[in-house]
């Protein structure tokens, strides 16, 4: 990602490569690699399909930088029975749609499927995910990620990893 400046165009190809890299990092639970992908902003899993005012609604997750760090520490610290070991996951990210573009910034919507395995049983989640990405001198960074789970306002199961 050398030669990137804050107003470099982020191509669809570059954005997709970034999202696939993030997906791979999350399947490996490599939070030390995931946290630096961020540049401020919130990691949000809202409840309901139409919510946009996340701060004034109850979310499944609404993490600023400090909460992301605390969550990563919890999931990797070995003191959380649900994450020691966590469910194993395999995910695919696809059906990319650019919804906003500006110099040095792109908003991209994608489809996410995650299959988890624990205790010999498998569960599946599907979500529409929106990433707001910016160009920095260190490469592409995330300024907001919204994971809209199907059935977010219905019955879920406990989740010991990140989407």
């Amino acid at each position: 990602m050398k030669d990137m400046t804050t107003d470099s165009k982020i191509t669809l190809d570059a954005a997709v490569q970034f999202l696939w890299m993030e997906a791979d990092i999350l399947d490996r639970n490599d939070f030390d690699a995931w946290l630096p992908l961020w540049h401020g902003g919130h990691y949000i899993i809202p409840i309901g399909d139409d919510v946009t005012d996340f701060a004034n609604n109850l979310n499944i997750a609404y993490d600023d930088a400090d909460m992301r760090k605390a969550r990563a520490a919890r999931l990797s610290g070995g003191f959380s029975i649900s994450a020691a070991p966590p469910a194993r996951t395999v995910r695919t990210v696809s059906r990319f749609v650019i919804t906003e573009e500006a110099p040095g910034a792109i908003t991209i919507r994608s489809a996410l499927h995650v299959v988890e395995d624990k205790f010999g049983r498998q569960r599946m989640f599907a979500a529409n995910v929106e990433h707001k990405l910016i160009a920095t001198e260190n490469g592409i960074r995330i300024t907001q990620k919204v994971v809209r789970l199907l059935n977010s306002d219905g019955m879920l199961t406990s989740i010991s990893y990140l989407f």
Binding site: I47, L58, N59, A61, R71, A83, M155, L156, T157
Partner: protein
């Protein structure tokens, strides 16, 4: 074999002996026949928590809920009266509503178009000429449950002869009154909910609400995510001022932080550092007395009130369980806030709720994990009992004259199981 001699099944059996005071028999987590009888003799007979009035605030509001395994609709009719109706058309049984929450003037069955008013009465039947003259719509309203409320909480019962709700709640009322003080001078209102399903028997969740013993073990990673001041607050197992009290009728209270029992007390105490920024924001709009009251309310209460069989007022939220099958239970963690209260205060309430609760909270997934482990372990050595004997022989009498154990005693579980035993006899 004539129908007169048809086997009556397990309904004839008494399951009371499965509760043995300080222990319970493993089939209580495992046997589908027991589950069926529980749905009939407990969830079909007593008061069951179905919702909060703020979920159906206006005329025409409705919300779907369940009583045991039976789908119901909570509705508020055009005169403002609450109804709890079985969500089943009286014609051929289709559900008449599948929208989780909303506003309507009627419920219409999608199959043949039968239309029902908000109070459940049958209003419209297409092509009525196909029925004989003795067909009377009055005979075909949606099945209604008995409904009563206490402090905004809506309870329903299939048993029309059930005792008055206030008698059923009994000694728990005092604690409900205290719990509702976290409106901070505003009415308490639901702010949304987390919902997750766990492969476990419903009684494993019922036990957990009154289990302080697990907290430092299961919630170690939550504790590690707190600042020093809050860590102190959650170290109740090391303090010696908490207790568990058997309130009768299966209800119990587990007092973790007695200094937070009555939120109107000690309002002059220094504002904890983690609430200082909120207090400063509130000072723009409220006088100092109100600021202190609101800030104190934001932090929530210091106790878990367990209401048999399916509800809890837990620190700062409602914890509701729904039995699905003998090995499957749905949990709802309903966030609460101040109706008409300051936005900053409600935001902080929601952030605190998100921190611990729900499918991805820092606490609930670890609870779900150990509950599932209880169910998985119960498959082994079914001849062994599940022990709830912690604190037996060490209990004394509370100032209210009720049995009381120390904070980690299993007094509340024994209280719930005694009620279970009485109802399952």
């Amino acid at each position: 074999m004539t129908l007169d001699h048809f086997p009556q099944g397990p309904q004839d059996a008494s399951y009371a002996p499965l509760v043995k005071g300080d222990r319970v028999a493993t089939p209580m987590y495992e046997d589908p026949a027991i589950f069926d009888v529980e749905m009939e003799k407990i969830f079909g007979k007593t008061w069951v928590w179905v919702g909060h009035e703020s979920e159906v605030p206006d005329k025409g509001n409705f919300k779907l809920s369940v009583v045991g395994t039976q789908p119901v609709i909570i509705s508020r009719d055009r005169k403002g009266a609450l109804h709890v109706l079985v969500n089943r058309c009286r014609h051929r049984a289709a559900t008449v509503c599948e929208i989780k929450k909303g506003k309507t003037s009627s419920f219409q069955c999608p199959y043949h178009g039968w239309g029902y008013a908000l109070d459940g009465s049958l209003r419209g039947v297409p092509y009525t000429e196909g029925y004989n003259t003795d067909f009377d719509k009055k005979d075909y309203g949606l099945k209604k449950l008995k409904v009563e409320t206490y402090q905004g909480m809506i309870f329903a019962s299939f048993n029309m002869d059930v005792e008055p709700l206030e008698d059923f709640l009994g000694n728990a009322k005092l604690w409900i009154d205290l719990f509702m003080k976290q409106g901070g001078g505003f009415p308490v209102k639901t702010l949304g909910e987390h919902q997750f399903k766990v492969p476990m028997n419903w009684k494993i969740q019922l036990e957990n609400t009154t289990d302080a013993y697990h907290f430092p073990v299961v919630h170690k990673s939550f504790m590690q995510s707190l600042d020093g001041e809050a860590t102190q607050q959650f170290s109740f197992l090391e303090d010696d001022d908490g207790w568990v009290e058997d309130l009768g009728n299966g209800h119990s209270v587990m007092v973790m932080m007695p200094e937070l029992n009555d939120l109107d007390d000690n309002l002059d105490a220094p504002i904890p550092e983690r609430f200082e920024a909120l207090a400063e924001t509130l000072r723009a709009d409220y006088d100092e007395a109100q600021v202190r009251r609101i800030v104190r309310a934001v932090g929530g209460c210091g106790f878990n009130l367990n209401l048999f069989p399916n509800a809890a007022c837990s620190l700062s939220f409602f914890r509701i369980l729904r039995p699905v099958s003998v090995q499957e239970t749905e949990i709802r963690h309903i966030a609460l806030g101040m109706d008409g209260g300051p936005e900053a205060a409600n935001q902080m309430r929601m952030r605190l709720h998100e921190h611990f609760q729900g499918p991805m909270g820092f606490g609930s997934p670890d609870d779900a994990e150990v509950w599932e482990r209880v169910q998985r372990g119960s498959a082994g050595a079914g001849d062994l009992d599940v022990m709830v004997n912690r604190g037996v022989g060490l209990e004394d009498t509370s100032p209210n004259g009720l049995p009381k154990g120390d904070i980690s005693a299993e007094t509340g579980m024994r209280a719930a199981y005694r009620k279970w035993q009485e109802m399952m006899a």
